[in-house]
């Protein structure tokens, strides 16, 4: 009797947030925190900074939630804010620092998303963990333009329509970016063919 339902309807939560209800916003953070954090982490390639940027994105979303209109999905709107915050971060950090953070196959303690696992052995080939590590590294080598398109499509599983709304870029352009990202990744991960 009188117990709060476990999953409150999203539109109700948004309405409550628009009336400055922090508790309702907390529930939206619970729902989307992990996705937002992971998109940002893969865009900027650094876990610690990703936490700060993701928090900034949520604060920004709450402050402008009165601008949210129901003509798009809340998750799409939130992702758009997150992607813009990640872009801001990359702009202010500059590409030089980005290169240092993402330098491939060099465990410099700069807090990358994944640690380097044990080297693959000829007898056993690459373990799943090793393969994941190299895929992650190869994604980080993509230019930001291709990286964000690839991550949204194949890591986060978005369709092209939603990506177009998040990135504000046409569907066909995004397809082309995803195609080219896949080709570059296949070239980087050429050795995957050896196991086939």
């Amino acid at each position: 009797m009188g117990e709060t339902p476990k999953f409150e309807d999203e539109s109700t939560l948004i309405l409550r947030c628009q009336q400055q209800d922090h508790q309702a916003f907390g529930q939206l953070i619970d729902r989307y925190g992990r996705t937002v954090l992971n998109v940002i982490a893969r865009m900027i390639g650094n876990q610690t900074d990703a936490e700060d940027v993701a928090q900034e994105a949520f604060v920004s979303a709450f402050k402008s939630i009165t601008n949210f209109r129901a003509d798009s999905r809340f998750s799409t709107w939130l992702h758009r804010i997150a992607v813009n915050k990640a872009k801001d971060y990359l702009r202010t950090q500059g590409r030089r620092q980005e290169r240092e953070i993402f330098k491939p196959k060099e465990n410099d303690g700069s807090d990358p998303i994944m640690d380097l696992p044990d080297e693959r052995t000829p007898e056993h080939g690459a373990s799943d963990k090793q393969t994941a590590y190299h895929v992650e590294q190869a994604i980080q080598l993509l230019s930001p333009l291709y990286r964000v398109a690839f991550v949204l499509k194949h890591v986060e599983g978005m369709d092209y329509e939603e990506m177009a709304q998040v990135l504000g870029v046409g569907r066909d352009v995004l397809k082309m970016r995803v195609y080219k990202a896949r080709i570059k990744l296949s070239q980087e991960l050429e050795w995957l063919k050896e196991d086939l």
């Binding site: 916003f25 990359l90 082309m176």
Partner: protein, 244 residues
């Protein structure tokens, strides 16, 4: 802002060979029925093509199964703490705004009315006095920007940015001159729907973008110069020394 490991190619398929193009469309299930049959027949005949498709599919499978970061403890608490310390939507000028615009009941009497009339007449007299022209004359850079007289050495100059966005609820500018923090530099709306701001900057080159309604990043359509922002959009470039 433009460098990266791979240069950004033009957004077309010119640099993709036909086989790559077909493989990508096959993976996206974008081939027409007959194209698909032809492709599968070719794949059956060509082991290299088969390997290429399989490697691509394998790479995509690994990508979709990449480990996901867990939300760290205290993540939500920290966000809610920030919301508590800076109430949402409240700007520093809001208390003054509410004092100015809160409705009030005004009590008056004939003496107060006469005093108010005298004050009004005095103000009208002041307004009618000739205006001394501004010392800092504005000179045009482009159709939308104006700046003060040409820069001398490193002395800051005044630059005005203008954005025509009558439907917008807010417009701000983010650029090299304010650390890409749009909240630092809001534009003011004029009666005709234009948004303007006057900046004081040292001579140099500055990249910038407008931010409409707090979310949408828009390139200044009237900038004299542009550069890629590395994400497929263009930054406007303000070259103060050159433009003057």
């Amino acid at each position: 802002m433009t460098s990266s490991y791979y240069p950004d190619p033009p957004e077309d398929q010119d640099d993709m060979d036909e086989r790559d193009w077909l493989v990508q469309r096959f993976v996206d299930q974008d081939l027409a029925p007959q194209e698909r049959i032809d492709f599968l027949t070719e794949m059956d005949r060509d082991p290299m093509l088969r390997k290429q498709v399989l490697a691509t599919e394998q790479m995509l499978l690994h990508s979709s199964q990449l480990p996901r970061m867990a939300v760290p403890p205290g993540f939500k608490t920290e966000i809610l703490k920030q919301l508590d310390s800076a109430p949402a939507g409240q700007k520093w000028w809001d208390p003054f705004w509410s004092v100015l615009f809160a409705p009030r009941v005004l009590q008056w009497n004939p003496a107060m009315a006469m005093a108010a009339a005298c004050l009004l007449i005095g103000m009208l007299w002041i307004v009618k006095q000739p205006v001394i022209p501004s010392v800092q004359e504005m000179v045009p850079i482009s159709s939308v920007m104006k700046a003060s007289l040409p820069p001398q050495g490193d002395k800051p100059v005044m630059v005005r940015l203008v954005m025509l966005e009558p439907q917008a609820r807010s417009v701000a500018v983010a650029g090299d001159f304010n650390g890409w923090q749009p909240q630092e530099t809001p534009l003011q709306r004029t009666e005709d729907g234009a948004w303007t701001v006057t900046l004081q900057v040292k001579p140099g080159r500055y990249h910038y973008m407008f931010v409409v309604d707090g979310q949408e990043w828009i390139t200044d359509p009237f900038a004299g110069e542009y550069s890629s922002d590395g994400f497929g959009a263009k930054n406007a470039v303000l070259d103060v020394s050159h433009a003057l």
